[in-house]
């Protein structure tokens, strides 16, 4: 009996130890050695150049974090295969921020104080990025933001603003780019907003409200739901009863798919527009069904199937093929490009900084980066030199196929 109790205690200890490891800020995924699937980091001389990455690897948006990391992995592999940065291989240290502000801030502290990285990419969600920014400012380490879109991040006065450079567009940029189409082209006269309840969703809600109202449209309902919510029948019932002719949704692909399922259940027919860039329609189709996504519109920053629209069409084509060759899930293609572009920005900044990893001058070097990436030309020329302006596309899904029906900047016809 005593032995059984000891066994049980041992089992409990193992369970708890596993749990605690999962809970702490220790690296959930440390990909220091995982870069040789596409690259040849081992052939390069010198110590690797470490940089930090904060992404949600567990939690409700863990899939999106994994996709960003897959793009980053391809990017690091490509850079290292082409000789690395200043002759040294790049090596990411990836910590799980869980898309939780507190966890993301802890991850930033760990990366800076324990791993002593000179630069960090992250932290996916706007609320998490806003929590990380004061940590970056306190330690004087630059942050490259690849996903977040809350306007606050690149608004002067936000704690940590001086140390942040953002590739992803702000919600205001998205709304501004789509403004000519929303009311006049898509006929969105009475619009309901249904978004995730965080800085990202609320920021996008405010930006699209402004854009729609400026064009003469009307917002008839605004609902914000937690990112873990799966039952949205109450919100959809209200929207259905509000006389809305369109719904603007800003949340991740998985939650959009859940909403579309219940939208179908209620037999609704409002026009659907999703925003935010984590809304890859292929992912939504796989999680709902192609029929449910048919006829919906999506604001995107990279359309993987339309290489001509990318900042570098040849690179887009190579990326598309490499992504498939590496066996990454197709559903992640529309999110993964963020990691790919971001690692190239970091690499170029280090080279522009004469290979120095001194954080303050590295932060300055970021302002001189010009990289024709998958999401357009990355150049931090807006919001006082802290914000890039990627391409923004309006994509319509018809019979499972994606077609860009509008673009900002407009695509020149051959």
């Amino acid at each position: 009996m005593i032995q059984t109790q000891k066994l049980a205690r041992g089992l409990s200890a193992v369970v708890l130890a596993t749990s605690m490891a999962a809970c702490t800020g220790s690296p959930a995924v440390d990909q220091r050695t995982a870069m040789d699937s596409t690259g040849a980091s081992g052939a390069l001389g010198g110590d690797p150049i470490l940089f930090g990455v904060i992404a949600p690897l567990t939690g409700p948006v863990a899939d999106a974090g994994a996709y960003v990391v897959s793009g980053l992995t391809i990017g690091v592999g490509k850079i290292n295969a082409q000789g690395g940065v200043c002759g040294r291989p790049l090596e990411p240290i990836i910590l799980d921020g869980m898309n939780d502000p507190q966890e993301s801030a802890n991850a930033a502290e760990n990366l800076i104080t324990r791993e002593q990285v000179p630069i960090i990419m992250g932290a996916w969600g706007s609320s998490s990025t806003l929590a990380v920014m004061p940590v970056m400012a306190r330690h004087g380490i630059p942050l490259v933001v690849e996903t977040s879109s809350s306007d606050k991040i690149t608004t002067p006065g936000t704690p940590g603003f001086d140390w942040v450079h953002r590739i992803s567009p702000t919600s205001a940029m998205e709304a501004e780019a789509m403004k000519p189409y929303l009311v006049d082209e898509l006929g969105m006269q009475r619009v309901a907003i249904l978004s995730v309840n965080n800085d990202w969703g609320r920021g996008a809600g405010a930006a699209f409200r402004l854009a729609i109202e400026e064009q003469g449209g009307q917002i008839v309902r605004e609902d914000y739901i937690d990112q873990t919510v799966t039952d949205v029948l109450p919100q959809l019932t209200n929207i259905n009863g509000s006389g809305a002719d369109a719904i603007v949704m800003t949340t991740g692909a998985a939650q959009i798919a859940t909403i579309l399922k219940q939208y179908t259940e209620l037999g609704m027919d409002q026009l659907i527009l999703t925003t935010g860039g984590s809304n890859y329609p292929v992912a939504i189709m796989q999680l709902a069904s192609p029929e449910m996504v048919n006829g919906t519109y999506h604001v995107m920053f990279y359309v993987p199937t339309e290489h001509a629209l990318a900042g570098d069409p040849a690179m887009s084509e190579w990326y598309y093929d490499t992504y498939a060759e590496n066996g990454y899930p197709e559903v992640g293609l529309g999110e993964s490009y963020r990691g790919f572009d971001a690692v190239h920005v970091i690499a170029q900044a280090i080279e522009l900084n004469d290979c120095s990893l001194e954080p303050e001058s590295l932060n300055q070097a970021l302002t001189r980066v010009e990289f024709a990436g998958l999401s357009g030309l990355v150049r931090f020329s807006e919001a006082h030199g802290h914000q890039s302006r990627p391409n923004v596309y309006l994509v319509r899904v018809d019979n499972g196929e994606l077609a860009a029906v509008a673009a900002d900047p407009p695509v020149e016809q051959p």
């Binding site: 066994l7 409990s12 690897l57 109450p234 798919a257 859940t258 209620l266």
Partner: protein, 291 residues
């Protein structure tokens, strides 16, 4: 008015699942005095087993539900035998900590086995709404509702009529007296924990086609299940049914008429309100009975 009725209907549908979750949890607490923080993870595993058996292997959906209940029920039995029984006589916080550890362990195991990408199980029944007057109801939701109440009724019959059910009720009332009367308390505990886990798995399997399946889906469900058990009265079978339905309807009305953002807070407001007025829960009392 139409909206109100639709909200009530929606709340009733989700409330049936809350009741199913609550019954499993309240049984485990009532019989074993274990606060099971891994209940949501059994729900998650049920959904993943349905995904694997129904979606990937092509087994009929109802059979996949049975497989999910049996597999997760067996896991519950093993958990009771290896993890909980040896610490049964420890203070209540020891098994509680063990189930917290187990919950994170199971979520991380699911992350490794099925990866973090959300999964779609596909639909065993049409999801397109059928209009009943001004109201909309889908065959899938109707199946979920009917299945939930069949499982609840079956559980009630099992408790009332079967020899094991009587043994469970006897153990619930007084473990030592039951043991003296020849009830094998170890077996009762094992069956109860396995049964509770199986009910959570059935709830997960029933909702899997409507929502998505992902490793962290159990966390919020655990919290909701606790709300149901506390509001209904710790250890009260009918209390769990009543509280489950009440919570579903309160959430639906709250999200519909108050604020979407505070939907999850409604469960906890309900707990506070009930505990202030009736500290033992709606149908709980000093000498609770499984009836």
């Amino acid at each position: 008015m139409v909206e109100l009725v639709q909200h009530l209907l929606n709340g009733f549908l989700i409330g049936g699942i809350y009741a199913l979750m609550g019954i499993g949890l309240t049984l485990i607490f009532g019989v074993m005095n274990v606060v099971n923080f891994a209940h949501g993870q059994f729900y998650m595993l049920g959904a993943f087993v349905v995904y694997t058996v129904f979606t990937l292997a092509g087994v009929p959906y109802v059979l996949a539900l049975v497989v999910a209940a049996m597999a997760v029920g067996l896991l519950g039995v093993i958990t009771e035998r290896l993890l909980l029984r040896p610490i049964r006589d420890q203070p209540a916080d020891v098994p509680m900590l063990a189930t917290i550890g187990l919950s994170i362990f199971l979520a991380n195991m699911a992350l490794i086995i099925w990866d973090p990408t959300p999964k779609d199980t596909g639909l065993p029944f049409p999801l397109v709404g059928v209009k009943v007057g001004p109201l909309t109801l889908t065959p899938m939701r109707l199946f979920v509702l009917v299945a939930a109440f069949v499982i609840i009724a079956g559980s009630h019959l099992f408790l009332q009529r079967s020899r094991m059910g009587k043994a469970i009720r006897a153990t619930f009332q007084d473990r030592e007296a039951a043991a003296l009367m020849g009830v094998d308390v170890d077996v009762v505990n094992m069956v109860t924990f396995g049964w509770g886990a199986a009910m959570a798995a059935l709830a997960g399997g029933l909702l899997a086609p409507i929502f998505q399946v992902f490793p962290t889906m159990g966390a919020i469900v655990t919290a909701k299940s606790f709300a149901v058990v506390i509001v209904g009265g710790l250890g009260s079978f009918p209390g769990a049914i009543l509280a489950g339905l009440l919570l579903g309807i309160a959430e639906s009305l709250g999200a519909g008429y108050v604020s979407s953002g505070y939907r999850d807070a409604i469960a906890f407001i309900l707990i506070i309100a009930v505990l202030v007025v009736r500290p033992t829960g709606l149908l709980g009392n000093e000498t609770q009975k499984l009836a």
